[in-house]
């Protein structure tokens, strides 16, 4: 099944929730409403065969897009060897998404990492703790407004190209 056919099926099932479809360099990205993410992921896994969640991450578009964040799901179909990407926009003042760790167990650590580094929380996550940073760390380092040198330090004045 081509990516186009997959997108058509998604649109047929979740017409109002599909916000945008982009094709770039042969890869298809579907943006959907964040309220429907668990439904869409379950549908992708059970009906369209995308049984493998490769990766999940947050992207900070500070000053470039509103809402500010995107949570990105890279899916893979082990049977047909196809990839597809799902994105959900997440607003800064309400930075949370429903967890998909009920759909794929692997999402557990990915979502913890996204919470730790990007500050997006996941509703219903079984164990939402920091994973890479120390437990008592303040702030979320991968946010664009978090200084590269860390908090409370003079910005590095040397070459940083």
């Amino acid at each position: 099944m081509s990516d186009q056919a997959i997108v058509e099926k998604l649109k047929a099932k979740f017409s109002s929730a599909v916000l945008d479809v982009v094709e770039h360099r042969g890869e298809t990205t579907v943006t959907i409403e964040k309220e429907r993410i668990v439904e869409v992921c379950t549908f992708m896994r059970d009906d369209l065969g995308y049984n493998f969640l490769c990766d999940l991450c947050g992207v900070d578009y500070l000053g470039k897009l509103t809402p500010r964040f995107m949570v990105v799901y890279n899916l893979y179909n082990i049977t047909t060897k196809q990839r597809i990407r799902i994105k959900v926009p997440v607003a800064e003042e309400n930075a949370n998404v429903d967890t998909v760790s009920t759909v794929w167990g692997t999402a557990n650590w990915h979502e913890r990492e996204c919470w730790d580094l990007m500050g997006i929380s996941f509703n219903g996550h079984p164990d939402l703790r920091r994973i890479l940073m120390p437990a008592d760390w303040e702030g979320h380092p991968l946010r664009k407004d978090y200084p590269l040198q860390g908090p409370d330090r003079e910005p590095y004045q040397g070459r940083l190209s």
Binding site: V22, H24, R25, E27, T29, N51, F52, L53, C54, D55, C57, V59, D60, Y61, K64, V72, N74, Y76, I78, K81, R83, R85, W104, G105, T106, N108, W109, H110, L117, R130, I131, L132, M133, P134, P141, L142, K144, L148, L160, S161
Partner: protein
């Protein structure tokens, strides 16, 4: 008198020789049986993804060396392929560069698997294998040094090709090594496969089913040892892998012994691919002819004004891919290594996300050890083949 029993919580790592780095495990034990295992990671977090947002696309390549430092060229390859895809120059890479990439990538697979086998066997108590494996690994680090100048942090591939051609006479060294490798693998097998202690420590230990492995996201040889026939080199070929003739070893058992056999067979296949790559190696350019994004050959920088200008522009300012996003997965020795790049049209990526195979594979550890003996934890850490450099990034 009332008899009181309770579980005991012990701490393993981050300073423990068999955690292969700085992994910390909190183990809850009932006698010798593990009730609950909780991995704690992040001790080696260096902020690779944050740093990459402040560097041009070329400056990120050395950062990728330091992810899985036992297989640096696989990381280089995954990253440069992702950038090439983002630029849309994937089909402009010259044949010689593609062949050398495959050649070095398979040597890297051997290098990584040799360290896995050495440490895994050492953890379980087989000292000799460690010495033999590191002897062969030394040959590969020598090849690395001749090719890139560094034994571990190679920084060899470039967007659009390679940083330098192979030095004269190296092809013969590589061929001799690849031809000797099957014999060495026989030696390791002779020491381990039929060894009853080895079998007792590995057969049935750390079992995981195919469904559970897919759910938790395990990839690479660990997944193939659970009976899932999936290899990105064959199924989503990159860098010309579709032109090579190799088998993907798959085992059904899903235990530590199956993962051991899967990796051994992969080493045999890797040495065959190295030989095929050497046969394909023909003289030719090693950099794509895309002057706006690919560094010009050194000769042109010295002799032509255009070459000098392009070199200067790319080194000082970098290049700006058009806005968009790509994901590129490669079959690294440990599993699927993915790079997700987002460009906003500036010379630095808006976001680089690494999908490290070890990070995801480690997530399967608790369900593989819970309910098993404490001694099996060490065997399972070894069989998962984790590297904390890429787990913590």
């Amino acid at each position: 008198m009332a008899f009181n029993t309770e579980t005991m919580v012990i701490n393993m790592g981050p300073q423990h020789p068999s955690t292969h780095g700085v992994l910390q495990l909190i183990l809850e034990l009932d006698g010798e049986v593990v009730q609950k295992a909780t991995p704690h990671i992040g001790f080696l977090h260096r902020g690779t993804e944050k740093l990459s947002e402040y560097r041009t696309y070329h400056q990120i390549i050395p950062l990728t060396d330091r992810l899985d430092y036992l297989a640096p060229m696989s990381n280089n390859l995954g990253y440069v392929l992702a950038v090439e895809k983002l630029l849309g120059i994937t089909d402009k890479i010259p044949e010689r560069a593609k062949v050398i990439r495959v050649l070095m990538n398979e040597l890297t697979r051997l290098k990584s698997h040799l360290v896995w086998m050495a440490c895994h066997a050492l953890d379980i108590g087989a000292m000799t294998v460690f010495l033999y494996c590191f002897r062969e690994r030394e040959d590969i680090t020598d090849i690395y040094e001749k090719v890139s100048g560094a034994r571990m942090t190679s920084n060899y591939f470039r967007v659009g090709g390679l940083s330098a051609d192979l030095p004269d006479g190296l092809e013969k060294d590589i061929r001799d090594f690849a031809e000797s490798m099957p014999g060495h693998i026989e030696t390791y097998e002779g020491l381990l496969t039929g060894n009853r202690i080895w079998q007792k420590r590995t057969i049935g230990v750390g079992h995981i089913s195919a469904e559970a492995a897919i759910d938790i996201g395990i990839t690479g040889p660990s997944l193939r040892a659970s009976g899932v026939d999936w290899d990105l080199r064959r199924d989503n070929p990159y860098s010309g892998y579709e032109d090579y003739d190799f088998e993907v070893p798959v085992f059904e058992e899903g235990d530590t012994f199956a993962r051991y056999k899967a990796r051994l067979d992969e080493m045999r296949q890797a040495s065959l691919i190295v030989l095929q790559a050497l046969d394909k190696l023909k003289p030719g350019p090693i950099l794509a002819d895309c002057p706006k994004v690919v560094l010009p050959p050194k000769q042109d920088v010295v002799e032509t004004i255009e070459g000098l200008i392009h070199h200067f522009k790319i080194v000082t300012e970098g290049f700006s891919p058009e806005p968009g996003e790509v994901y590129q997965g490669v079959e690294a020795p440990k599993g699927e290594l993915g790079f997700y790049l987002v460009s906003d049209g500036s010379p630095k990526p808006l976001r680089m996300k690494v999908r490290p195979p070890s990070f995801v594979n480690l997530q399967g550890l608790p369900q593989m050890v819970e309910g098993k003996f404490l001694a099996d934890v060490v065997a399972v850490i070894g069989t998962l083949d984790i590297v904390l450099g890429e787990i913590d990034r």
